[in-house]
Amino acid sequence: MNRRSLAWGVVVGCVVLAAGGLAALYLLRPGMLPQTPGADPVNATTQTINLGEYLARAGDCVACHTEVNGKPFAGGRAMATPFGNLFVPNITPDDETGIGKWTADDFYRMMHTGISRDGTLLYPAMPFASYTKVTRADSDAIYAYLMAVPPVKQANRPHALRFPFNKRELLLGWRTLYFKEGEYIADPKQSAEWNRGAYLVEGLGHCTMCHTAINALGGSSESKEFEGGMIPNQNWYAPSLTSNREAGLGNWDIKDIVDLLQAGASNRGTVYGPMAEVVYNSLQYMSDDDVKAMAVYLKALPQRESEPPPTSQARLVDPTVIGLGRKVYVAQCAMCHGDEGKGHPPAYPPLAGNQSITMASPVNSIRMVLNGGYAPGTKRNPRPHGMPPFSHILNDDEVAAVVTYIRVAWENSGTPITPAQANELRKLLPE
């Protein structure tokens, strides 16, 4: 055999292997589920539909599946991702454009495995890696509720993802790396309350979608679960839930955690930005028992860091910066947050000892100074207080100085920030 025919042999071999691989993928691709008569979701009881509505709220389905000012669950909303825009589909029970022809089995397979009715692999913007933990009974209840909402005829828009992310076959790789299928399994060593909280936080609540860092492949690794990260395309930092130096709740009272989640404001801090949206659309509707269960679970999350917390950095900061920061603070901030940073909680949150001020990422503090913010108006806090924007009043040096000041004053253990960091965030539109 001469060299040329060997080369040809290698090429032909590769082609055959590639063709074989594609054929295998094609043959193994998921298809439609067989019809299994038996379940009768069309005649779901009022009780089941109401439970489904409650669970759909726990899953915050409406937030993504409804366009601004659009009809509930009719989809169409553009979801910006680092890979391009996804257009969220219509999940109203319209036969042609929605999920009207889906069965409860189809719906459960989608929730549990991330595979759509026709066998399409879903992009993980749909949090099926969390929803896989939802029980069959809860999935059926949500299905029954969605079948009972008004159908809307609104065709889905095709996604606008960049190559190669527009190739759904790649999701096989993503799923192998980052997706573990399986309903929630109760931990017998923990209380029923803890287990209920874990089920809600890890499942329908899909908290890890933001509170776990996303890598370049759009995946998040299990070992870093709840360790926090920047929310792609929203430019807010979702703090770690496993570090008491960030949003870890290890040393919070259960009441304060419940207030934060359910009312949106507590004696320890207040929610703004994307978390305000979660409280507004979802958590405010959760029962007292369920919110308390989530609080119990979140408080008990294992703490990941071992070294002692840093001490005040105040003496390390340029005195002229501290001087400017204090001057701005006294003029603009002290009225609401107090000379000693104690605030008027829950109306105006404390800044002294507030983890979201001192945590390593200063992004949220800078954004609040620039754009202000109102806590969400909720059933328990229908008339929230708010903070005005200062982006038009303070220049970058002043923003950096005042944020540095609140991060190091009153024994706070944060680090100084630079005018360049303030400038970066000033360029973004508030959202």
């Binding site: 003029a331 754009n371 109102y374 207080h385 005005p388 038009h392 002043e398 959202e431």
Partner: protein
């Protein structure tokens, strides 16, 4: 049209550079559990009592009819009126609370700031005055005062006052209506009017309005004292 946008853009760029706020735009309140304290989220732009600030891009909101203010707050929340800083601030506030905020500022009667001293051509001022008082029948443009009131302090429940606004804000809003970026509740009478105005009409109206002295009585007119020349959705 492009010239108007450039002026607007330059004004917004300049906004980031001022050093410290004037005293009447710094947060202040007496009781934490009060509407005054709850409205502090508005004051660095709209002033402590909604009187507006030196930065002309932020309008006076004090004394505008509550229905108008509520319509704007709801439109900002729902994204039908677009201005990112406002859309963000009110995104998660429920209707009854937006009505309360609107009522709060509608009741305020702070003094007016100094009128604008920007120089305008006499011909532009004359054209502006004519449009405000008589409109331009040839173009099908009714007088501003026909709906915004003889004192230009607005009309209950949904038509805003025009006195005390800066030229840059008036130009910006009329331009947004002309290009289809701002809407009112249908039937959208302001759209019909704004699209009949030229660039120079807009500049003239803004120049004249912003140069007027404070009215003796800042309250808006009661609704339906006069029959309006156009049907306006915000008056229903």
């Amino acid at each position: 049209m492009r010239g108007l946008w450039l002026i607007l853009f330059a004004a917004l760029l300049g906004a980031g550079e001022s050093a410290l706020a004037t005293e009447d735009a710094v947060p202040a309140f007496k009781e934490v559990d009060s509407m005054e304290a709850r409205a502090q989220g508005c004051v660095t732009c709209h002033g402590q009592s909604g009187q507006g600030t030196q930065n002309g891009a932020y309008p006076r909101i004090a004394g505008k009819p509550a229905g108008y203010l509520y319509n704007q707050l709801a439109a900002f929340r729902d994204g039908t009126r677009k201005y990112a800083p406002m859309n963000y601030l009110v995104a998660y506030l429920p209707d009854p609370y937006l009505r309360e905020l609107a009522d709060y500022f509608a009741k305020q009667r702070p003094p007016y700031g100094d009128r604008e001293t920007r120089r305008a051509e006499a011909t532009a001022l004359a054209r502006g005055k004519a449009l405000v008082a008589r409109g331009d029948p040839a173009k099908g443009v009714p007088a501003c005062s026909a709906c915004h009131g003889n004192g230009l302090t607005g009309m209950e429940p949904g038509i805003p006052g025009l006195v005390g606004l800066r030229a840059i804000y008036i130009v910006a809003q009329l331009t947004r209506w002309r290009v289809g970026d701002r809407h009112a509740i249908e039937p959208d009478c302001m759209k019909r009017i704004a699209t009949r105005l030229s660039d120079s009409d807009v500049a003239a109206v803004a120049a004249w309005l912003s140069a007027q002295d404070a009215p003796a009585d800042p309250s808006p007119e009661r609704s339906n004292l006069v029959r309006m020349p156009m049907a306006c959705g915000s008056q229903r």
